[in-house]
């Protein structure tokens, strides 16, 4: 960090957080798929309680 000029530091900090967006997208999709699996794969397939 010490090797970067103030201008470079500012450029990095002000850049859009692409990695974070990507990570949130991956996690969001995984959670949605997981929820769908639970709803259709485990809950609905269980059928009514006898």
């Amino acid at each position: 960090m010490t090797e970067l000029s103030e201008e470079e530091q500012r450029r990095i900090l002000e850049a859009p957080p692409r990695g974070t967006w990507a990570l949130i997208l991956v996690v969001g999709i995984a959670m949605l798929l997981g929820w769908l699996y639970f709803f259709f794969g485990l809950f609905m397939s269980h059928g009514p309680v006898a």
């Binding site: 960090m1 957080p17 990695g19 959670m31 929820w35 485990l42």
Partner: protein, 539 residues
């Protein structure tokens, strides 16, 4: 930092971590007893006394004292003025400590084995209820201290933006006043008079409704300091800046407003409330995920900035470039990881119909431990490492041990809780001391039960290393002079913010209206209906 505030913060933190260590040891006993693999230690009475004590120590004592201690530190270090009343802060400490000791006696003698939730007709000794109430009263005094400190600071600094850490701390204090009123009413009008023999019977439906008023938002009372540390300490320690101060304020406001009127998702299977109100609370429950998503995004974006400043390239290269030798960085990233896993479990719990799949199973215990003992507590531990040099004036004994301890905590928590999720799906009920059935169903549980013991053992070792590190630091002769003024600075520090983002009047009004809508009819109907009371169970 002002010395009087430092000593009261320090006293609160030590009570918190002493409770934490005892509770961790009890936790190991519980998983061993519950597994059924050690018949020689099986005792239903001891197990339920231990579970109750473990829950009270972790859920009420560790949290309340940590929140108070961290709050006192935050108030003086961010506002740069003494507390409103340092003497009152000591009164709060002594009242809360007295209440804790009072509650401990019936807990340890098996007269309060009610599983740390206040659900009659399970009945405890009156000393337990009165002691627990005193602990809450102590926390109310802390709330007053935080609110008054900010009010005075705003008077002295008109037009200035309240520092984010203190804004979050005050939001938490206000939220706690709102949410603890439910259990306060339950204690004063139901449990204490009932346990003293002034009433013969109790209405469990009303009690469960009142406790639900407190029960979910209390999780956010615990979580708030973890989020505050993520927003205001972690980015600086990681070598970067906070991505957005305003996003933090919005998240704190949303937590204050949304987290209280949503407690019925704990009552989905209860008969005393209607489906419509449960559905309303479900919508709020999903809504409260928004501030958590905002927090996850903002903190990760801050960490991305820090990682890129350290040379991280590509979409995910910044993660590897982070300073993984820094305890707060390890804790922050692991806390978010466990929040994602625990948050998924929460989505299943919160889904009204699908809740039947996991209701009252060991899944719920797994979810709860991931969010609380995972995300929340790991941030408490890292915050303690961060604060100790500031409070003691001595260098942390071993940063390497701190990092190792935090990794152990994460691994232990995953090894403990992932099998619990599986056990829940395999039909194992929660809150049982043994499974004395000989059926193919119970046989499936075996490997998971073994794993949870390994997880519990790892966690106890981790807890021991944590307390040792703090003790060694305090006994160390290596002095350290650290500034109290090292809070994270935002990429764009706010020069001014809209009035509602610098105060709470509007948000209190919204909470009041929402509470009337969400809890008005459900409580009034129970008061009007002539419901038969219940006789006590247990003690």
């Amino acid at each position: 930092m002002y010395n009087k505030s430092k000593s009261v913060a320090f006293a609160n933190l030590w009570v918190a971590f002493a409770a934490f260590f005892v509770a961790a040891v009890l936790g190991l006993y519980q998983v061993m007893e519950r597994s059924g693999l050690f018949p020689e230690i099986e005792s239903h009475e001891l197990y339920f006394a231990s579970v109750s004590t473990h829950g009270v120590l972790m859920g009420f004592v560790l949290t309340t004292f940590f929140i108070m201690g961290f709050g006192y530190y935050t108030a003086t270090a961010t506002l740069k003025r003494p507390l409103w009343s340092p003497g009152l802060a000591w009164v709060a400490f002594l009242v809360a400590l007295g209440g804790t000791v009072m509650a401990a006696v019936p807990l340890l003698t098996g007269q309060a084995s009610i599983l740390y939730t206040f659900y009659p007709p399970l009945k405890a000794h009156p000393a337990f209820y009165i002691g627990a109430t005193l602990l809450v009263v102590g926390s109310w005094v802390w709330c007053l201290e935080m609110i008054m400190s900010v009010i005075i600071w705003k008077r002295e600094n008109p037009g200035q933006v309240v520092p984010l850490a203190m804004y979050g701390t005050t939001a938490n204090a206000i939220m706690w006043l709102w949410t603890s009123a439910g259990v306060g009413i339950e204690m004063l009008f139901q449990l204490i008079p009932w346990s003293l023999g002034l009433m013969d019977t109790v209405d469990p439906g009303l009690a469960r409704t009142l406790f639900s008023w407190t029960l979910h938002a209390i999780v956010y009372f615990w979580l708030f300091p973890a989020y505050i540390a993520m927003y205001t300490i972690l980015p600086k320690v990681a070598g970067g800046r906070l991505f957005s101060d305003e996003m933090g304020r919005v998240a704190f406001i949303m937590l204050l407003v949304i987290s209280v009127p949503i407690g019925f998702h704990h009552l989905y299977m209860d008969p005393q409330q209607s489906a419509g109100f449960k559905f309303l609370h479900m919508l709020g429950t999903f809504g409260v995920a928004i501030p958590t998503l905002l927090t996850g995004f903002t903190v990760l974006a801050s960490m991305e900035g820090a990682g890129r400043l350290r040379g991280g390239k590509g979409l995910f290269g910044w993660i590897a470039a982070l300073d993984w030798k820094e305890p707060m960085v390890v804790a922050g990233m692991m806390a978010l990881f466990m929040l994602i896993a625990g948050g998924f479990g929460g989505m299943i719990n919160a889904s009204y119909q699908m809740n039947t799949l996991v209701h009252n199973t060991q899944w719920v215990t797994g979810h709860f431990h991931l969010i609380f003992a995972g995300t929340t507590v790991i941030m408490y531990l890292a915050t303690a490492y961060h604060l100790w040099p500031k409070l003691t004036g001595r260098r942390l004994a071993s940063r390497g041990m701190a990092v190792f301890q935090l990794w152990l905590w994460t691994i232990g928590m995953l090894v403990l809780t992932l099998p619990w999720h599986a056990l829940g799906l395999l039909g194992q009920p929660r809150r049982i001391s043994s499974t004395p059935y000989d059926s193919p169903l119970v046989e499936q549980w075996g490997p998971h039960e073994l794993a949870m013991i390994v997880g519990g053992a790892i966690l106890v070792v981790s807890a021991l290393l944590f307390v040792l590190n703090l003790l060694m630091s305090q006994a160390s002769k290596k002095l350290d002079s650290v500034s109290d003024d090292d809070w994270a600075v935002a990429v764009y520090p706010p020069m001014s913010v809209p009035k509602p983002m610098n105060g709470f009047a509007l948000w209190n009004g919204i909470v009041a209206v929402w509470m009337v809508v969400a809890y008005g009819i459900p409580i009034v109907q129970l008061l009007i209906l002539d419901a038969p009371g219940s006789m006590p169970w247990g003690y």
